[in-house]
């Protein structure tokens, strides 16, 4: 068990180190998400009514579509120089590779979310400190990363991988997006926990389902 975690961490650390040096994923996702926020922010303004109506959707559009850009790179780096073959030659269960890559994509997406969200809150004149929103972001990002890592591995072997990933990923991740938007609404409006609880439960359920299914099918996705 300890060895398994060591290997998952080795993959995660390798991805972190690479990203820290290239900043390919973080910068591109961050710029895209910021642009979305700014465009929507200027389009809708920051009135109370508008905030309640569209702000949750704007945040999750920015994070979801920005996330797709980042997810495209998660396995693309392994495709170059046939590094995926190098990984596949390692004496590890395929699930170890999945969890190592998942840890990386989750961390990248979460880092972007925690930069973007305060900017979003400021743009819409909302309080910056919203711990409940942080919880929603963590749960939704986990769901995105769980599905996204799997489909990133699938798309990387296709010719039109940049198009293929959103086509595969977005329909499957709709329950997470809807739950995240619905749970974010009451948080931004200052509503009680009860209003978001059902959506949080749905998020948790989908996270578990996606993690289990993706772990089981990853082997079939990456094996020739």
């Amino acid at each position: 068990m300890n060895k398994t975690f060591t290997k998952i961490f080795a993959i995660f650390w390798k991805d972190m180190l690479t990203e820290l040096r290239t900043k390919e994923i973080i910068v591109s996702v961050l710029v895209f998400a910021l642009l979305v926020l700014v465009i929507f922010g200027f389009t809708f303004g920051a009135g109370l009514e508008v905030t309640e109506m569209v702000a949750p959707g704007i945040l999750w559009v920015a994070l979801t579509f920005g996330g797709v850009i980042g997810l495209n790179r998660i396995f693309a780096v392994e495709k170059e120089n046939s590094r995926l073959e190098g990984l596949m030659l390692c004496p590890v269960d395929r699930a170890v590779i999945y969890w190592g890559k998942l840890a990386g994509s989750f961390t990248f997406m979460l880092a972007v979310a925690f930069v973007i969200t305060p900017i979003f809150l400021a743009l819409f004149n909302l309080p910056i400190f919203l711990p409940r929103l942080a919880l929603i972001i963590i749960l939704a990002t986990l769901g995105f990363a769980a599905v996204g890592t799997l489909f990133s591995a699938l798309a990387v072997n296709t010719r039109a991988r940049d198009i293929m990933l959103p086509v595969l990923f977005l329909p499957v991740v709709v329950p997470v997006i809807v739950s995240a938007v619905k749970a974010t609404g009451p948080v931004l409006a200052g509503g009680p926990w009860g209003d978001m609880l059902t959506w949080l439960q749905i998020l948790i359920a989908f996270d578990i389902i996606y993690l289990v299914v993706a772990t089981l099918v990853f082997e079939f996705v990456v094996e020739e």
Binding site: A10, T18, N81, S82, G86, L89, E223
Partner: protein
């Protein structure tokens, strides 16, 4: 089908009836191959003969459409993770991460293979490929020849008993190629089974104990190194492959 060949099998590699199809295209058409322990086998063949496909199957990267492979007596379908501890692959792709240093690359792969006393082992293999002065340089900044030496260090880090070499000198200049050839020449030194594919007849004959020619997915010629000279091997190669037709 016999899956229970004992581990003490005399064959380091045994393949029976290997077939591989990609859609309509049949890349391998019934390959039977036996390689004894610590032997160097060189597989020759023109482009599209199936050399890389065969090596990918033997190294567990690709599953055959039909047939079986045993490495050190173990069926690769049953215990592929266990098998991967014993094998390694060097190809013209280095599998190295450009933005990590050579040391970080080796440390990463060492952890994936549970290499004991990893830093000491990295120093050993790096000294062997004569890359000590570039150990802390990013892999992407090395020349193609130096990257290939780092790739060889990566491949032998976990001391595999079977080493697959898929055209390891492709794209190297003559000097780098000679350096890699020297390293590869000392790689088995009687304690490792080596299977190499190449187009280069002279180089292949230098390194091989036995020779196989593959054409259109079939073994068309097989001999020991002693049985052939360089001159007649070129004639044999031309006769058995498309270039000779």
């Amino acid at each position: 089908m016999n899956k229970d060949i004992p581990v003490a099998s005399t064959w380091a590699i045994e393949a029976r009836g290997l077939e591989k199809s990609f859609g309509e295209h049949r890349a391998l058409r019934g390959i039977d191959l036996k390689v004894t322990r610590n032997e160097s086998l060189v597989i020759f063949g023109p482009n599209g003969a199936g050399k890389t496909t065969l090596l990918k199957i033997l190294s567990t990267l690709v599953k055959p459409s039909a047939g079986s492979v045993w490495l050190d007596g173990i069926d690769i379908r049953d215990k592929s993770a266990q098998i991967r501890h014993k094998i390694s692959l060097v190809s013209h792709q280095t599998f190295l991460y450009d933005n990590l240093t050579v040391f970080e690359n080796l440390k990463f792969y060492g952890k994936m293979y549970d290499v004991a006393d990893l830093e000491k082992r990295i120093k050993e293999v790096i000294a062997w490929v004569q890359l000590e002065s570039r150990l802390h340089d990013r892999a992407g900044t090395l020349s193609r020849g130096l990257q290939q030496r780092a790739s060889i260090a990566r491949a032998v880090l976990h001391n595999p008993s079977i080493l697959f070499l898929d055209e390891p000198d492709v794209g190297l200049d003559p000097h780098a190629s000679a350096m890699v050839r020297d390293i590869l020449g000392s790689i088995n030194s009687g304690s490792r089974t080596v299977v190499m594919t190449t187009h280069n007849l002279e180089r292949g004959l230098e390194l091989g104990d036995s020779i196989v020619i593959l054409d259109r997915g079939k073994v068309v010629y097989q001999a020991t190194r002693e049985a052939i000279s360089e001159v007649n091997f070129r004639q044999i190669y031309d006769r058995y492959t498309e270039t000779g037709r």
